[in-house]
C-alpha cells in the first residue's frame, strides 16, 4: 500500500467515525451553513460536533500548516481529503470568509504574529470576518475607492462607507481596503483589519430579491485602527487585495465540488420528467456540469503546484458561476409550480426559489462575469487594449 493509500484509509476511517449522519448532505441554504464567530448559534448538536472534531484535527483548514490551526496536508493528501469528503457527501465543517479569503492572504502577506493569532482563530471558528471592498461609487472599478484612513502616528482614523458587505451585521472583524494616499491610485491603498465593535462602525442591512438580507451598507465614522493591524506594506494593499480576490474567485467558482451535487438530471427525474425537450436541456447541462467538475479538479491540481496560469481563477469564476445560474434555471423549470412556493412548510421556506434568485449574484459578487472576461482577455490572451 502506498503512503497515499494508507492516508486514504486513515481519512476514510476517521470520517466514518467522526462525521455525523446529519452532516453527510449539503447545507440547504446559507442559513444552514456553519459560519462560526462570536455570536454564531449552531443549528444543532451535529453541526457543533462536526466543526469541533474537525478543528481539533486541523481539518477545518486541512492545507494550512499545523502551527496556524491546519493539518498541514500536501496537495496530494488534500485531494484525498476532498475525495473522501465527497464520497460520503460530507459538507464542509466550517465555511467562512476567513478560510476562503483572508487566510490565504495572511499566509502570503501576514507577519508571523498575525498568522499565529488570526489564522488559529479562523481555523477554530472563533472569529467571523467580512470583506470591506466595494463602495457605492466603486464596484467593478474597485481601485477608485474613497474610504480614507488618516495617519495619526500610531494609528489611523478611518472614515467612509462600504456597500454590499456580506454579513457585516454578523461578522466580528472586517478586512478592509482603505485609501492611505490620495495622490496615488493603485499604490495608495492599504489593507487593514479591525474589530466590527470598534466605536464608529455601524451597519445597515439591505434586503435582496431573494427576500433575505445577507449584506449591508457599512459606515465608518472616525474609527481608530492601530498600525499593527495592517497586512502587507503601507500603500501596497492593492497587491494583497488582488491576491485575495484570486482565492475568492476560486471559491465562488465551486471548484472541488462533486458530480452528484453538480448534475441535476437524475434529481429532476424524481419529480417526473415528461418533457423530452427539458430532458434534453438537462442532459446538455449535465455534460457541462460534469465537464466543469473535471475542470475544477484539474484547476486545483494545477494551482497547488504552480502549473495553473495565475489568472486562471478568473476563468474558473466566470465558468463556474454561469453554470450555477443555468443549473438553478433548470431546477426551477423541472420543479414547475412547486418551485414557486415562497412561504410554506413543504418548500422549506421557499428555498428553491430563494436559492435560484441568490445564484443571480454569483456572476456579480467577487467581480462580474464581464470583468472576468476582461481579465482573461488581458492577462491570459494578451489581447490589445484590454
Amino acid at each position: 500500500m502506498s503512503d497515499l493509500d494508507a492516508f486514504r484509509a486513515e481519512i476514510r476511517a476517521w470520517l466514518e467515525e467522526n462525521c455525523p449522519a446529519e452532516m453527510r448532505e449539503p447545507a440547504r441554504d446559507e442559513d444552514d451553513v456553519c459560519w462560526g464567530g462570536r455570536n454564531f448559534k449552531f443549528k444543532n448538536e451535529a453541526q457543533k460536533l462536526w466543526m469541533e472534531r474537525c478543528a481539533a484535527k486541523g481539518y477545518t483548514v486541512p492545507e494550512w500548516p499545523k502551527p496556524y490551526g491546519g493539518a498541514g496536508l500536501d496537495p496530494a493528501q488534500a485531494k484525498v481529503w476532498r475525495e473522501e469528503m465527497n464520497r460520503i457527501g460530507a459538507r464542509p465543517p466550517l465555511s467562512s470568509f476567513g478560510i476562503w479569503m483572508l487566510g490565504p492572504a495572511l499566509l502570503k502577506f501576514g507577519t508571523e504574529e498575525q498568522k499565529v493569532h488570526y489564522l488559529n482563530q479562523i481555523a477554530r471558528g472563533e472569529i467571523r470576518w467580512c470583506q470591506g471592498y466595494s463602495e457605492p461609487g466603486s464596484g467593478s472599478d474597485l481601485v477608485s475607492l474613497q474610504t480614507f484612513g488618516e495617519d495619526k502616528g500610531d494609528h489611523w482614523v478611518v472614515n467612509g462607507s462600504k456597500i454590499w458587505t456580506s454579513y457585516a451585521n454578523k461578522a466580528d472583524w472586517i478586512f478592509c481596503l482603505v485609501r492611505t494616499d490620495k495622490a496615488n491610485k493603485y499604490q495608495g491603498i492599504s489593507f487593514l483589519l479591525f474589530d466590527m465593535t470598534s466605536p464608529g462602525v455601524s451597519t445597515k442591512p439591505i434586503l435582496l430579491i431573494s427576500g433575505n438580507s445577507p449584506f449591508c451598507e457599512t459606515f465608518f465614522d472616525n474609527v481608530t485602527v492601530p498600525k499593527h493591524q495592517i497586512v502587507g506594506e503601507l500603500n501596497r494593499g492593492w497587491d494583497v487585495a488582488k491576491y485575495l480576490l484570486g482565492h475568492e474567485r476560486e471559491m465562488i467558482s465551486g471548484a472541488g465540488g462533486n458530480d452528484r451535487l453538480n448534475t441535476i438530471g437524475a434529481f429532476a427525474k424524481r419529480n417526473g420528467l415528461e418533457d423530452p425537450i427539458l430532458r434534453a436541456e438537462l442532459a446538455m447541462f449535465d455534460v457541462d456540469a460534469l465537464a466543469f467538475t473535471a475542470m475544477g479538479e484539474k484547476f486545483l491540481d494545477e494551482i497547488k503546484v504552480g502549473k495553473a496560469h495565475p489568472a486562471q481563477p478568473n476563468m474558473m469564476k466566470y465558468a463556474g458561476t454561469e453554470i450555477n445560474k443555468r443549473r438553478h434555471e433548470l431546477l426551477m423549470a423541472a420543479g414547475g409550480s412547486a418551485a414557486l412556493e415562497w412561504e410554506s412548510e413543504s418548500s422549506n421556506g421557499g428555498s428553491k426559489a430563494r436559492n435560484w434568485l441568490r445564484t443571480k449574484a454569483n456572476s456579480i459578487e467577487g467581480g462580474t462575469s464581464e470583468v472576468m472576461l476582461n481579465v482573461i482577455s488581458k492577462r491570459i490572451l494578451d489581447l490589445p487594449g484590454a
Binding site: P75, A76, K79, T263, G265, A266, A268, K269, L273, R279, A280, L282, A283, M284, D286, V287, D288, L290, A291, F292, A294, M295, E297, K298, F299, D301, E302, V305, K307, Q312, M315, Y318, A319, E370, M372, L373, N374, I376, S377, I380, L381, D382, L383, P384, G385, A386
Partner: protein
C-alpha cells in the same frame, strides 16, 4: 492522480508537437494530398515517420513489441494531429484497431501488429451501418460456414477503409439487430473475396468507404476475442475511438483558437486592432474558458480509461460531447472573426471548420453523447 501530464508525458508532448509542426503541418500534408487528389488522403512517408518515433505502437503492449502506453499518451499525439490537421491513419489503426488486436489471439497479433509497428500497414474499423453513429444496432451477419464464418451486410463511412490492409468488422453471430449480445469481431483482410469498397471523399478531404460484405468467407482464426462475446471488445474499441477523437478535437480547437487570437492582434479596422473591441474580446475569452474545460474532460476521461475505472464510460461520453462543443465554437468563431478572408480556401481557418465537422460526427456527436450521459445517469 493529478490531472496534468507527468514529466514523461510532457516530454512526449514536446516531441509530438515539434514533429507534427515540422512534418505534419497543413502545407506539407493536408493541402498537399488534397491538391494532388490522393486516394488515401494522407502520406505513407509520414506514417513511416510515426512508426520511427514509436507512435504507431503507443497502445500496443510491450510484450507485443509496442510501447505499452495508455490513452493519455495516444491523446498527446492526437492533439498535435488535431492542431495541425494532419491526415493520418493513427486514430483508426493505432488507437482503435490496436485496441481490438490487443484482445486478439497471438496468431492474429503476429499477423498484423508488425506491419502496424513498422508503419507499413493501415487498419480501419467498420462498425456503423448508417450516417449516424449507432453501434447499438448491428445488422451485418456472420454465419458459420465451413471451418469459419461467412459475412454479409454493409458498413458505412468506414474512415480510411479504402487504404486499409485489414478491417476490423463488427458482425452479428446471434440475436437480433438491436441486441447487446451476439456480436463478434473479425479481422478482414482487404483482398478477401466478396469484400468491396466504394470510396467517398468527405468535406474535410478525409477518405471514408462504404463497405459491402457479400458472403465474405473467413477462417475461424479471423475472430478477434470470443464468438458472440465481442460486445465487450467492441466497447473498448469504441471508447478508445471516442476519447481519441475528443483529444483530436481539442487540438483542432486549439489550433483554430491560436490562429484567431493571432489574427485579432494583426488586423486593423476603424484605426484599431480588432482585438481591441470588447465584443470580440469577450467572445474570445469565453472560448478560452470552454476550451480549457474541454481539455480537462479529455485528460480526466483518458486517465479513467487507463486506470480501468468504472466511471470511464460516462466521462468518455462527457469528453466527446464537450470537446466537440468547444471545437465547434472555436471554428465558428474563428471563421467569423477572420471576416471575409475566413471564407477563402487560401486561408487555413476554413480547413479547421471542415475537420471539426467530420470529427464531430465520428464516434457520436454532441447529441448522441448527451443522451448517453442522461441514460447512464438514470434518466
Amino acid at each position: 492522480m493529478p490531472l496534468y501530464h507527468t514529466e514523461d508525458q510532457a516530454m512526449l508532448a514536446d516531441t509530438a508537437r515539434q514533429f507534427m509542426a515540422d512534418e505534419g503541418n497543413i502545407a506539407k500534408q493536408l493541402r498537399h494530398y488534397r491538391d494532388i487528389n490522393c486516394k488515401d488522403g494522407f502520406g505513407h512517408g509520414l506514417w513511416k515517420q510515426f512508426a520511427e518515433l514509436g507512435f504507431t505502437g503507443i497502445l500496443v503492449a510491450e510484450a507485443d513489441g509496442g510501447l505499452g502506453m495508455g490513452h493519455v499518451e495516444a491523446g498527446i499525439v492526437l492533439e498535435e494531429v488535431g492542431r495541425n490537421l494532419t491526415p493520418s491513419p493513427f486514430l483508426t489503426s493505432s488507437v482503435m484497431a490496436a485496441t481490438a488486436l490487443g484482445q486478439a489471439s497471438d496468431e492474429l497479433k503476429g499477423r498484423y501488429l508488425p506491419g502496424l509497428l513498422a508503419g507499413d500497414s493501415v487498419f480501419a474499423v467498420a462498425i456503423d451501418e448508417g450516417p449516424k453513429h449507432r453501434p447499438e444496432r448491428i445488422a451485418c451477419r456472420a454465419e458459420r460456414a465451413g471451418n469459419g464464418f461467412r459475412l454479409s451486410g454493409a458498413k458505412s463511412f468506414v474512415v480510411q477503409g479504402g487504404s486499409a490492409d485489414m478491417l476490423v468488422v463488427a458482425a452479428r453471430t446471434a440475436g437480433s439487430d438491436e441486441d447487446d449480445a451476439g456480436i463478434t469481431l473479425f479481422a478482414v483482410p482487404k483482398d478477401a473475396a466478396g469484400l468491396s469498397l466504394e470510396n467517398a471523399r468527405l468535406v474535410d478531404s478525409s477518405q471514408a468507404a462504404h463497405v459491402k460484405l457479400d458472403g465474405v468467407q473467413l477462417d475461424a482464426d479471423a475472430v478477434i476475442g470470443e464468438v458472440d462475446g465481442g460486445r465487450d471488445v467492441l466497447n473498448r474499441v469504441i471508447r478508445a475511438g471516442r476519447v481519441g477523437a475528443a483529444a483530436e478535437s481539442v487540438g483542432v480547437a486549439q489550433g483554430s483558437f491560436d490562429m484567431t487570437t493571432t489574427y485579432l492582434k494583426q488586423r486593423k479596422q476603424f484605426g484599431k486592432l480588432i482585438g481591441e473591441f470588447q465584443a470580440l474580446q469577450h467572445r474570445a475569452a469565453h472560448l478560452y474558458s470552454e476550451l480549457e474545460i474541454a481539455r480537462a474532460t479529455v485528460i480526466k476521461a483518458q486517465q479513467l480509461l487507463d486506470t480501468g475505472s468504472e466511471k470511464a464510460d460516462l466521462m468518455v461520453s462527457v469528453a466527446k460531447a464537450k470537446a466537440g462543443k468547444a471545437a465547434g465554437l472555436a471554428v465558428k468563431e474563428g471563421v467569423q472573426m477572420h471576416g471575409g478572408i475566413g471564407m477563402t480556401d487560401e486561408y487555413d481557418i476554413g480547413l479547421y471548420m471542415k475537420r471539426d465537422r467530420a470529427l464531430a460526427e465520428f464516434m457520436g456527436d454532441l447529441y448522441y453523447h448527451a443522451d448517453r450521459v442522461a441514460k447512464l445517469s438514470g434518466y
